[in-house]
Symmetry: C2
Subunit: 315 residues, 2 copies
């Protein structure tokens, strides 16, 4: 049974309970798994073995970090790579992470116009039902590509509404070349990503979508914002949860990321993926923990939490 | 074995051979299948039955239209709805449509930044290999969401390069609310979708991507363009294949769609989905052909081909 509390409210509670806005991103590739999970050399036709090893690694990582972070973000592309077997593994991992008490964000970035968007929303946000005969765990929220505008976003928001789930619409990416498209400056002084944010803000602001915490079930993925822009977004979209990519390996400093948090620490989830899940490869951790990959991952979470807490304290 | 001829050149050949730029879009929902394919009433746990019926309907439709059109576009969202079983059915359908001699476009609209985009590209454009152990048919081209800019597009273009395949980057959507985002007017007089088109045009123009036909393996999905804009795009991106959604049910007139074709009939694929695959529901066809759904679908293709040919003749 799904909990009846809405996603945005559950997230508030989880962030306060765990005492951090850090989210661990699971973007696993077989080549970088801890050696003891790789199952030795590559067997012939190793696809099934690899996705099994990936699922095992992610399961152990989710269990390890569950007491320390409110949520995990699972990047479906790294599972979809293994086609149907990967999709099965993705939903299996969603279920396991939920059983560990985590909020689970499915990073699926799906987006299209009306009817097609509704199909994607049904695949990724709806419980199994008599239409598909499929029953499985579903993420608490998914990321959405809002390029098609209001009509492409609403089917996801409405599917989330029906099940107490959430969506994060991708408003600004963290990669360098995103700027050419997303920062395209309009004649009215706004940038393209601000226009998109305003569309998302309108969907988010529907009173039926606002929970007891004051936050909406519709949030935004917002990466690579300047400190000034981050403060502006925090003020303008006070009812919105932000999901912030790029902390850690991608080079967004804690001080910039936490500008999207409110004073009580809620309002933004700061995601770190590779810097956490492959911490055992980082020389300083490798030296300290040797072959104990779990100890390295755990320490990386402790360190990232501390880094974000320090940055929030200095705000 | 994949043919060695490049996608853009194969497409040229197919359009000339079949004598039309019409493409049939497969967006199947179980509720609208011909009654004899529905398998009577809905059995309990009917998901598997439904996806089987959908696969059968699409297979029969692809076989039926194969002599009359150069390509089919398969919308993965309508399969993904059935999760892993749907993904298996999608790739199975891709293989069958290719065996019928069709070029196959996977309408997947995937998009994300660098590493994640590479994962999606591997899932949807790469042959099975020792990395995944997976072996199956792969579409000749896929649609891509280019919101992340150059870095999000290149991994797909490069995966297509490796296998003689193609990509169509989604530049302009055909839905009404797309305009708020995609027609956002810049201070430099360009609209947002024109900025995106320029990025795609740069990727497409790489000499290594241009085939003997003069067309690139990188094309654009371009819907809802005004007649003037369509002519402008045709002239500016003379090396680009356009994929045009919205003809038929979505209300784009043939006269507008064919403006993206060159004088020899190549250069644009005009997609019709629901108006063809559900033709047996259309009163005029239903009256004429009774319960013979295949005859209705076949006639709808004949009529759409004639409509496009007439419009091209009047250009």
């Amino acid at each position: 049974m799904e909990p009846r509390v809405r996603f945005a409210d559950r997230l508030c509670d989880a962030v306060k309970r765990k005492g951090t806005c850090l989210v661990v991103g699971l973007d696993p590739v077989a080549e970088r798994l801890p050696v003891e999970l790789r199952g030795g050399s590559q067997p012939a036709g190793g696809g099934a073995c690899r996705i099994d090893a990936i699922l095992e690694f992610c399961t152990q990582t989710a269990e390890l970090v569950a007491p320390m972070v409110p949520a995990v973000k699972i990047n479906i592309a790294f599972f979809e790579r293994y086609l149907a077997a990967g999709i099965d593994a993705y939903f299996e991992l969603v279920g396991r992470a939920k059983r560990f008490g985590l909020e689970v964000i499915g990073d699926v970035k799906r987006g299209d116009i009306g009817h097609t968007a509704a199909m994607y929303a049904a695949a990724h946000l709806a419980d199994g039902d008599s239409t598909t005969g499929v029953r499985r765990y579903v993420p608490d929220a998914v990321t959405v590509n809002g390029f098609a505008g209001m009509e492409g976003i609403l089917p996801f928001a409405e599917a989330a509404d029906r099940e107490g789930r959430g969506v994060f619409v991708w408003v600004r990416a963290s990669n360098p070349t995103a700027a050419e498209i997303q920062d395209f400056a309009g004649g009215d002084g706004r940038m393209m990503h601000e226009v998109l944010a305003d569309v998302v803000g309108r969907v988010a602001r529907q009173p039926a979508r606002i929970g007891d915490s004051g936050y909406s079930s519709v949030g935004m993925v917002a990466g690579g914002l300047s400190a000034e822009k981050a403060l502006e977004f925090r003020a303008r979209y006070d009812h919105v949860w932000f999901l912030v990519p790029g902390y850690g390996r991608q080079g967004c400093a804690a001080a910039d990321c936490v500008k999207l948090c409110k004073a009580d620490g809620t309002g933004a989830l700061i995601n770190a993926s590779r810097s956490i899940i492959y911490a055992f490869e980082t020389p300083s951790y490798a030296e300290r923990f040797g072959g104990d990959w779990k100890a390295a991952v755990e320490q990386a979470v402790v360190d990232a939490r501390a880094d974000l807490a320090r940055a929030a304290g200095e705000k």
